[in-house]
Symmetry: C2
Subunit: 105 residues, 2 copies
């Protein structure tokens, strides 16, 4: 399972509105991804700021980046995102067995 430091890093990466916007835009775009310019057009974020956020997201593996000629395609790393999402409720109730009967809400 994800180490807690990695999970926290991933959540911190998604814990700002501009960065979460970037990630969601890429998730919506699907596996084909988007160029930095595409993201800039859609999100209206200055280039250097956007680059900084992309670096942050790539640094913790939530997105992948690949150069294609002059542009750089970013795309969501779906398996990593799913692992991160699953982390929150994993091991739910293991320390209170009697509660797991109620299949915790």
């Amino acid at each position: 399972m994800l180490a807690i430091e990695q999970a926290a890093r991933g959540f911190a990466a998604t814990g700002s509105v501009p960065r979460l916007s970037v990630l969601r835009t890429l998730v919506r775009a699907g596996p084909a991804g988007l160029t930095v310019g595409d993201l800039q057009d859609r999100l209206d974020i200055p280039a250097s700021t956007l680059s900084h956020h992309l670096r942050h997201l790539a640094g913790c593996g939530l997105i992948d980046q690949e150069r294609q000629g002059r542009q750089i395609i970013s795309c969501a790393n779906f398996p990593k995102i799913r692992k991160l999402a699953d982390y929150l409720l994993s091991e739910c109730c293991v320390d209170s067995p009697e509660a797991s009967d109620r299949s915790c809400p």
Copy 2:
């Protein structure tokens, strides 16, 4: 669906190791929850620091707190946590219909 500001706030709350530790400890503890003292014993965090983190987590609704005599019981708000987790991959691929055939990985 969750507004992006709320989601970002939730992720920011889980985006630090001590706070994620607190949340996970409560998730593992199940619906019965734990007192602040219990958390302090398990996590070895100074009282004022812990209180600050609990306030943060409660502020965005990821945990609920209820006074019981001299102690305060905190417990994970499972539905909210699940909504937050679901937010990450929601609307996946909606902007690239052809990709959704591949049931994005």
